[in-house]
């Protein structure tokens, strides 16, 4: 088996053993959901409901006229308790629709409303837009934005790399929903006008590779690309480089590369939105951590408060732990437990005190070169971090700070424990101002 990859990167312990064999399971519905009107990059939705309104599961509760926006839907049936700003996983506040459950139906009824083999491209695009489908791999753009590219692309690249430690939600989806994935890929391929589908999967998921390969064995237009287990293999640019060999110059658009990358979960969600008219109201989330009593891959409703998830997984004591939404390399640590799950939340990882990287005093860069050796963008994180720290933005730009994808390898590996990613994030807006001048 030919295994492909990219230059640089690091082998980080992947801690996937806690959940990789756990079948997808439904988590009970919470008593209350908090649904942010903005869950991705783009424009915020306007609420379509107000306090006191009765809503039914799947009902559209927020929408926008902007192109870069995806509608949001009620993930439970109940009464709108409030439309107000609430804390979201990014740490900021967003307008949210808060719904209190009633005794109406709390599960979406799945019935086929369209035939996947005969549905038209226009209909598919409309369903993806109306279903509020947005990127589910972490970054998250409204999906319809890229289902109708103005320039033709030849390849649809499905991202099943799942390189973040602990996360196994895409892994389980590929194993258990290979059928829907392949059908969804076909719809997506037609919609973007591509002629082939490549599915990049890291080789630490042999059962996923097997399941998907089995479904596409008679197809000439689809191919599984086994990828080396290396972080950050699942980042878009590195997946493109590894799977197609194409370079990804800065500022390049998908059309320039002839390639559109989609997360496997998004592909299935778009399929369900089309065939079952099911909006994106729930998703598979990996809840994991070395001390989590009931780790697993759960189907959880969008808007479910973190508290409910923690409780359902049997976690009693959170003292000194770190609760991360997303993977531990790029995900965000949460300071409170009433934040909601959003469309792009891949996981909830609870790190026990002994694994928590304290707010530590870090040292000068000793120029050991480990960050340079492993940087997947082939940058010099050492120089960048020194410039960023000292506010030398022009020099930081010369060292290509804007190319940094903030994958976190440098900070992970730094023997001086320098918070390189944090320094970069802080400096980027300043450098951007400098660029515009």
């Amino acid at each position: 088996m030919e295994v492909r990859t990219f230059e640089g990167g690091a082998h980080i312990p992947h801690y996937k053993n806690y959940t990789e064999d756990k079948p997808i399971e439904k988590m009970s519905a919470p008593a209350e959901v908090i649904i942010p009107l903005l869950q991705h990059s783009g424009a915020s939705c306007k609420p379509l409901v107000k306090e006191g309104d009765k809503v039914k599961i799947g009902q559209k509760i927020g929408d926008s006229d902007e192109f870069f926006s995806a509608p949001v839907h009620a993930s439970i049936s109940g009464t709108v308790k409030a439309v107000e700003p609430r804390t979201v996983p990014t740490g900021g506040k967003e307008d949210c629709v808060v719904i209190e459950a009633d005794d109406g139906p709390q599960e979406f009824e799945m019935k086929q409303v369209r035939d996947p083999d005969s549905v038209s491209v226009e209909e598919y695009r409309k369903c993806v837009r109306e279903g509020g489908v947005a990127g589910m791999g972490g970054a998250g753009l409204p999906t319809h934005v890229q289902t109708s590219p103005r320039q033709p692309v030849d390849t649809l690249l499905l991202n099943g790399a799942e390189c973040e430690p602990f996360l196994t939600c895409d892994h389980r989806l590929m194993v258990e929903k290979a059928e829907e994935l392949v059908k969804g890929a076909e719809l997506m391929m037609k919609s973007i006008g591509a002629s082939k589908v490549l599915m990049g999967i890291e080789v630490n998921k042999p059962d996923a590779i097997e399941a998907v390969s089995e479904k596409i064995k008679n197809r000439k237009d689809m191919e599984v690309i086994p990828l080396e287990v290396k972080y950050p293999q699942g980042f878009k640019s590195h997946l493109i480089k590894a799977a197609t060999g194409r370079d990804v110059p800065r500022g390049a658009r998908s059309a320039d590369l002839g390639c559109i990358v989609r997360n496997v979960g998004t592909t299935v969600a778009a399929y369900e939105a089309t065939v079952h008219d099911k909006p994106l109201i729930e998703r598979i989330v990996t809840v994991s951590g070395p001390k989590v009593p009931k780790p697993g891959n759960y189907i959880i409703k969008i808007g479910t408060p973190l508290e409910h998830i923690i409780e359902q997984c049997g976690i009693r004591d959170l003292e000194g732990t770190k609760v991360v939404m997303g993977g531990p390399m790029t995900g965000l640590a949460q300071s409170e437990l009433n934040v909601p799950l959003v469309k792009s939340t891949t996981g909830v990882v609870v790190l026990p005190p002994e694994m928590v990287r304290e707010e530590m005093t870090y040292m000068n860069c000793v120029r050991c070169g480990k960050c340079v050796e492993h940087c997947p963008m082939l940058l010099y994180p050492n120089e960048i971090s020194i410039c960023a720290e000292a506010g030398m933005h022009e020099e930081a730009l010369e060292w290509d700070i804007m190319d940094c994808i903030e994958c976190g390898i440098c900070a992970y590996i730094c023997p001086s424990a320098r918070p390189i990613v944090h320094l970069v994030q802080r400096a980027k807006p300043e450098v951007e101002k400098l660029q515009k001048r």
């Binding site: 230059e7 640089g8 980080i12 640019s237 480089k241 194409r246 370079d247 990804v248 110059p249 800065r250 320039d256 959170l318 003292e319 000194g320 732990t321 770190k322 531990p328 390399m329 790029t330 995900g331 640590a333 949460q334 300071s335 437990l337 990882v349 790190l351 694994m355 928590v356 990287r357 304290e358 707010e359 040292m363 000068n364 860069c365 000793v366 120029r367 050991c368 070169g369 480990k370 340079v372 997947p376 963008m377 082939l378 940058l379 010099y380 290509d400 190319d403 903030e406 976190g408 390898i409 900070a411 992970y412 590996i413 023997p415 001086s416 424990a417 918070p419 990613v421 944090h422 994030q425």
Partner: protein, 325 residues
């Protein structure tokens, strides 16, 4: 309410730390250190102990003066002390050893901002300073003679070393070269032990092969051109210690792969220049210190293009396909 830790990503941290790495370098120096103590006994032990104590005291004092927390637990001061000791001859006066260490740790490192901010290798800076100071004392001797100050320590660095003997044409077997040499610095007692330490550093991933390999190879090849015995030239003097422990110092060597190769080659060339084209017997320390100054320039020159850097050939090829469509 439970307190959650809220810090920016990434939330995982590798085990690597500066202290662990420094400790590893000290471990790598143990074979040659033990060998030197066994061979020279008390004089070597005294020099080493004096340097370690001087290093610790200097660092604590300087950091106190700068209102910084003591950082002895990162082992970098002790490492510098040990390296200084190994560069000195066993019969050196204890105060010269202490002075060399003081200059290395205090002026070479702490005064310029501490570990990471020093441009020159602290141990070599300390060693070279006491090499130069005696001649300074000599020129100033008329001033001191009346005061009765002893301008000593000269003997320490002018005694016959194996390298000097080799210059004079003395023959030595390879085994003798590898195992023990009388005279010269402590570390010259056994290049083999230094190589074992270097191999450990390579195995642990603390250094790259690029600097030692290119530096040693350059000395070897150029020695042949100068009609000298190349094996003698790489095993005698400070070549092995310089190649594995000094030129590879993280802080004072280039970070780029190509830069490391250039750095190693030029140091090798300079070593040969000092040995064969100047009256100096040894030049490893000077060669490395000179090249330390060029590190920022070398790095700028050898910067690799970013992953996102548009590639000229790829761009034109891309346009070609687009036009064909």
């Amino acid at each position: 309410m439970t307190k959650l830790t809220y810090t920016p990503p990434p939330h995982l941290k590798a085990e690597d730390s500066v202290s662990k790495a420094m400790l590893d370098v000290i471990i790598a120096l143990l074979p040659v250190t033990i060998f030197a103590i066994l061979y020279y006994r008390g004089s070597a032990l005294l020099t080493i102990v004096v340097c370690l104590i001087a290093a610790a005291l200097t660092e604590v004092a300087f950091r106190k003066a700068f209102n910084k927390k003591p950082s002895l637990n990162d082992f970098s001061a002790l490492l510098t002390g040990l390296l200084v000791a190994l560069c000195l001859p066993p019969a050196v006066d204890w105060w010269i050893a202490a002075l060399a260490t003081f200059i290395g740790v205090g002026i070479g490192k702490e005064l310029v901002g501490g570990l990471g901010l020093n441009r020159f290798n602290p141990a070599l800076l300390g060693r070279v300073s006491v090499f130069l100071i005696p001649s300074l004392f000599y020129s100033l001797r008329p001033l001191f003679q009346d005061a009765g100050i002893y301008a000593g320590g000269v003997d320490a660095v002018t005694q016959g070393t194996p390298l000097a003997m080799s210059h004079q044409g003395a023959d030595m077997s390879i085994l003798q070269l590898l195992a023990w040499n009388d005279g010269g610095a402590l570390v010259e007692v056994s290049p083999l032990m230094v190589i074992i330490g270097g191999a450990y550093l390579l195995y642990r991933g603390h250094i790259s092969w690029r600097i030692p390999a290119t530096m040693i190879a350059t000395v070897f090849v150029l020695s042949i051109l100068f009609m000298e015995n190349p094996v003698n030239q790489i095993l005698l003097g400070g070549v092995m210690l310089g190649a594995f422990f000094m030129a590879t110092d993280w802080v004072t060597s280039p970070i780029t792969d190509k830069g490391k190769i250039i750095f190693g080659i030029v140091i090798g060339v300079l070593v040969i220049v000092f040995r064969f084209l100047t009256p100096a017997v040894e030049g490893v320390a000077f060669a490395i210190l000179i090249m330390n100054a060029f590190v920022p320039l070398i790095e700028k020159m050898t910067k690799r293009p970013s992953f996102s850097e548009p590639k000229a050939t790829a761009a034109t090829a891309g346009k070609g396909t687009a036009a064909a469509r």
